[in-house]
Amino acid sequence: MKDTDIKRLLYVHLLCIFSIILSIFIPSFFLENFSVLETHLTWLCICSVSVTAVNLVLYLVVKPNASSKRSSLSYKVTRFLKCCIYFLMSCFAFHVIFVLYGAPLIELALETFLLAVTLSTFTTVPCLCLLGPNFKAWLRVFSRNGVTSIWENSLQITTVSSFLGTWLGAFPIPLDWGRPWQNKYSVWLMVLTESARETINQMKDHGVTSEWRFF
């Protein structure tokens, strides 16, 4: 059982990374003047949309916590709506936090908001997929010893490392290199860390897998 879970987990992460990479290369076929550095806003949109889509599809296909009891359509609809509201709320919450961290209030508001959206897709969407709109469950997963399954473990690692990546992304801002990307709140570094953590995650999965086989 656990073995298959680990395999699925591995595929899920591989697909996520793949979708990020694709979101860099695919749009250049359709859009003119597309480049990751120049039209960063478009790219961010595309990237977050694709990651969300991949997450949702995977959730529907893999169903890590398939509940046995059948639920009515209305329940599902309300659940979905709740998820959407949670997502929007998290976007706004992240935006507020960025502003509290010192992002300018009015200028660059769009950039800041897009960063918030991206961060939400990397953190809130997997949480919503896995745990549903249940705030207590989230808090449980993100406190020590609160993890119950390997899926939650992976969720904890990915989300925390996304936050860490964003946090670390602020470091180049004070450097006086005078590069324009420094002002974009270092989305790039975040994305880099993003892919790095996916890799780390994958390695960890491998580690777990081999351990499992050893036993």
Partner: protein, 983 residues
């Protein structure tokens, strides 16, 4: 023998202050300067020496040149002119160097090889140190005696084109100028065209005496593409053609005048192989200098290699060339070939003037000047010169005269060289020995603090001072002897340049004893720790528990901040680092609160009485910021499973909202004063408020802040101090109205503005009154011994007295900073620290972080320019040094001081355990001394960095001052702790 850890920490910090002071003394060598001020007209020039017969030549010699053109090319390295590049690209200059009437030199620049100090060196002849940057705070004008000021005073008309730095250094000195900014490094044609376009017009005119041209293009090319770029050649050819134009024009003009003209081609600093400059490599230090004048005779076929001179020599030479007195603090000597063609009497006269000036400077700066070889030589040559003058006046035979003359000349030249050498050694060296001793002291203290950390933070907060074994004590006796021997060796070999060596023997011996005692203490503490470690490891393993994200954050934050001090841009933007850390701290607290609120019961069983044992790993980490294992037992043993679970109603909501409130406050404060460098120019609320159009808004804001301060402070004061506080705050408003910052609602038009001395003194009376009541309460609590509330009230009154003083000294637009800091303190106390029961160490670190953040919220930064000196004049008629200094220091460090005194209040009133205060003192000492020690090492290793004077040195001063404040705070802590234990 046992020692409280608070006392121990206070002692450590005091010793550390000594170490840092010693380091600073070595790092900022006392500059060589003349103390007699700049009123130069009064002094008459030194008369010609004479033995017996009285010389009739007492006036300054007449100028040698009628016009002087200084063509300064930024980053003109010596081989650009004298090397293969010069031959290839500067044919005219090469012709002048090889065949023409010129003298060529390699002028050596002293580091920092940056434009502004180099211009100062060229024009004053002194070596600008950092201290004079501090001394003329905020005024970039050159106040020292210099050639330009002298020339202007003598009625010379000076024209300048080129780098704007000159215009800033010498405002109102030039009859005509056009400054170009060196801001856009990528532009290397426009900057020079802007200089050259004036040339044709100016060279035709006859109405000037000195023309200064500063070309920036070459330096810019170096910064872009390095010294081997093809652009360099093109630029050199351009410069060559400019030189040719000037020279031919000067030559054609010379036919009509009697005196020759002088053209100086020089560079301010060199260019490293990478294209930059600032450090002290050979390529950066060696610059070309060519003096061109028809007065310089040259025999055909006379090939000379460029001689090595100092850059500072130009000032003395120019002064003599223009017939001006030599600048007082010049350490350069006359470039002798310039006057070689003159009659012997004039030559000797010039040399004499220069030696007299140098020996005067030596007398002012070196106490033991009589022993200096240069001074002895000067005396000898002056006597010989006197003899020569007597012979000359008696009109002896020319044979004897010229023989004696050349002997005197040689003597003078030797004396000049020796004098200028000993002066420049005085000025330009880091006193590495003092720096090393200071660093050793600081590091030993840090090691002692770190090693004794776990023990000092244990439940009893006491330290054993073990009595050493005989062998060990023998070592301790031998060590000072060895160090003394080392000291003698270093001092005898290094000469009189060390500060430590110039100290009296007893003091130096004391320092040595201190160093060795500390070393012994560290060693004994280490052995004690190993012994203790064995004992500890026998203890049964405790259960792993409570998550320590907060402690991890504190540890990482401190380490990260310390490491960030190694980079110049992180120092410039240090405010951002603190804001970032404080925000993260708030979010971490938020996480902890939410977890405790919603899941308190789930986590409860995982806690155990020995909570915090899992920090062992963190605590044992080398930085040791987080306290040792045993602290937690006392504080946490009584911790209920879910402290927040029990809260209901509005309290619970307040707890949940508190981190967000604090974050919002921080964000507001952050937009009040933009600090740092990159974002300092952004519009901020502070500027908006201080503009005269918004006086009404500022008045309302100040009034609201004052009322908030009153509301927040009064609740724990006694009645008398409540009234005093109210009057004091009212007085502050009146004071600000009196000096014209604020408005009364009923007063529409501006009244006459006074200095507000009465109002300010009125407030001072209340401040002193409140402080006095507080101290009285404290003393009373010590005598009556059982009255706990009297003590807390007394402490709070001292705190509120400080708040009142701060409110008086801070600018009105900064009053919200004070009010919001009180708000944050109240919220944190009520809703975070008390319900969550953080231990003393955590609370201390949080106070420290907030204190640092508030230091920058006030508008401070790491450059000297932001120190608000006006605070030193509040309530004073004139500048009185000591009160002004104390007030300025308090106003600058309001944030850290207020937060530290709030920490004392909080810990005393909570009184979770008797040792909380000493733990806090120890933590405070440790967390302050870690960055200082690290920074001292960084600065030592980066002392030839490009930004050492602009970025690193001011920060070093700030750190030193901060450490001094910390020492004061720690002593205060210890005093409170003593009263605590007695009562």
């Amino acid at each position: 023998m046992r020692l409280g850890s608070g006392t121990f920490a206070a002692c450590c910090v005091v010793i550390e202050v000594l170490g840092v002071a010693l380091f600073l003394r070595g790092f900022f060598p006392a500059p060589v300067c003349s103390f007699s001020g700049t009123e130069h007209q009064t002094e008459s020039p030194a008369p010609e020496p004479s033995a017996g017969a009285i010389s009739n030549w007492t006036k300054l010699p007449p100028p040698l040149f009628s016009k002087v053109v200084i063509m300064l090319i930024d980053a003109l390295r010596d081989d650009f002119v004298f090397g293969s590049k010069g031959v290839k690209f500067m044919p005219y200059t090469t012709y002048l160097v090889e065949k023409g009437s010129s003298h060529s030199f390699v002028a050596e620049a002293k580091p920092p090889t940056v434009t502004m100090p180099r211009i100062k060196a060229l024009m004053t002849g002194s070596l600008p140190g950092f201290i004079d940057v501090v001394r003329n705070l905020n005024s970039p004008t050159l106040l020292e005696d210099n050639v330009i000021t002298r020339a202007k005073a003598a009625g010379k008309r000076i024209i300048f084109y080129g780098d704007e730095t000159w215009v800033k250094l010498f405002p109102k000195h030039f009859v005509e100028y056009d400054g170009t900014t060196s801001f856009f490094v990528s532009d290397y044609t426009e900057v020079d065209d802007n200089v050259t376009r004036h040339l044709d017009k100016v060279l035709k005119r006859r109405d000037w005496d000195v023309l200064i041209l500063h070309y920036l293009g070459l330096d810019h090319i170096g910064h872009i593409s390095g010294p081997n770029s093809p652009l360099i050649g093109r630029k050199l050819s351009e410069m060559d053609s400019v030189l040719m134009k000037i020279h031919t024009s000067l030559l054609s003009e010379e036919r009509e005048t009697l005196l020759p003209n002088l053209l100086v081609l020089c560079g301010d600093h060199g260019m490293s192989e990478a294209g930059g400059h600032g450090a002290s490599s050979v390529e950066e230090v060696n610059t070309a200098m060519i003096l061109i004048s028809s007065a310089f005779e040259r025999k055909p076929g006379d090939v000379r290699r460029p001689k090595y001179i100092q850059q500072t020599d130009l000032a003395a030479t120019l002064s003599i060339g223009l017939g001006l007195p030599i600048p007082k603090s010049s350490i350069g000597n006359l470039i002798f070939p310039v006057v070689e063609g003159k009659p012997m009497r004039e030559q000797l006269r010039f040399l004499h003037l220069n030696t007299v000036q140098l020996s005067k400077l030596l007398q002012e700066n070196v106490p033991s000047y009589k022993k200096e070889p240069g001074f002895e030589q000067f005396k000898v040559s002056e006597r010989l010169h006197g003899n020569w003058v007597r012979l000359y006046l008696e009109e002896n035979s020319s044979e004897v005269l010229s023989n004696l003359g050349s002997k005197v000349r040689r003597q003078y030249l030797d004396a000049l060289r020796a004098l200028s050498l000993s002066l420049s050694r005085q000025a330009a060296q880091y006193d590495v020995y003092s720096m090393a001793v200071g660093t050793v002291l600081v590091l030993e203290v840090l090691a002692l603090l770190l090693v004794s950390g776990p023990r000092a933070l244990s439940g009893k907060a006491e330290l054993d001072v073990p009595l050493p074994s005989p062998a060990f004590s023998l070592l301790c006796y031998l060590l000072p002897l060895g160090l003394a021997a080392l000291h003698v060796t270093v001092c005898t070999s290094a000469g009189g340049t060390c500060y430590l060596c110039s100290l009296p023997w007893l003091t130096a011996g004391g320092v040595m004893v201190l160093v060795s005692t500390l070393l012994c203490a560290v060693l004994s503490a280490l052995t004690g720790m190993f012994a203790g470690g064995k004992r500890l490891s026998k203890n049964p393993p405790q259960c792993n528990s409570r998550s320590s994200e907060l402690d991890l954050l504190i540890l990482l934050g401190t380490v990260g901040h310390t490491l960030s001090l190694g980079a110049s841009s992180f120092i410039e933007e240090e405010p951002q680092t603190w804001y970032f850390l404080v925000n993260t701290l708030c979010l971490a607290l938020c996480h902890e609160i939410y977890r405790n609120c919603f899941l308190g019961d789930d986590c409860a069983p995982q806690r155990c009485p020995h909570a915090g044992e899992d920090f062992d790993g963190v605590a044992a980490a080398p930085q040791g910021k987080s306290p040792g294992p045993d602290v937690w037992e006392l504080d946490r043993a009584s911790r209920r499973p879910s402290p927040l679970g029990a809260l209901r109603g509005p309290d619970r909501w307040m707890v949940l909202a508190s981190p967000w409130l604090i974050l919002t406050c921080c964000r507001l404060l952050r937009s009040l004063n933009q600090t740092g460098v990159q974002w300092a120019h952004r519009p901020d609320l502070g500027h908006w408020l201080t503009s005269p159009d918004h006086k009404v808004e500022l008045s309302v804001l100040a009034a609201v802040s004052l009322i908030m301060i009153f509301v927040l402070v009064q609740k724990r004061c006694s009645l008398a101090s409540k009234v005093a506080m109210a009057f004091g705050l009212l007085g502050i408003y009146c004071y600000r109205v009196a000096i014209g910052n604020l408005l009364f609602p009923w007063q529409q038009n501006n009244k006459d503005i006074s200095k507000g001395i009465t109002e300010a003194r009125f407030v001072y009376v209340f401040v002193l009154g409140i402080l006095f009541t507080g101290t009285k309460g404290l003393l009373k609590s010590q005598i009556t011994a059982d009255d706990f509330t009297v003590k807390t009230v007394g402490l709070w009154e001292i705190y509120s007295g400080l708040v009142l003083l701060a409110a008086l000294l801070l600018r009105p637009h900064n009053l919200p900073v004070l009010a919001l800091s009180l708000v944050i303190q109240t919220i944190m106390t009520q809703f975070v620290w008390r319900p969550l029961r953080h231990n003393a160490a955590e609370v201390t670190v949080m106070h420290y972080w907030f204190g640092q953040a508030f230091f920058y919220f006030q508008g401070n930064s790491n450059s000297i320019a932001t120190v608000d000196i006006s605070a030193g004049f509040v309530g004073l008629d004139a500048y009185v040094e000591i009160p002004a200094m104390l007030l300025t220091t308090f106003a600058t460090y309001t944030g850290p001081v207020l937060w530290a005194s709030h920490l004392v209040n909080f810990l005393t009133s909570e009184a979770s355990s008797g040792s909380a205060l000493s733990h806090a003192c120890f933590c405070y000492a440790l967390i302050c001394s870690v960055p200082v020690s690290a920074y001292i090492i960084f600065v030592t290793s980066l002392r030839y960095h490009l930004f050492i004077w602009s970025v690193f040195s001011p920060k070093l001063l700030y750190e030193g001052m901060h450490l001094l404040i910390t020492a004061a705070v720690c002593v205060f802590f210890t005093a409170m702790d003593q009263t605590n234990t007695k009562s």
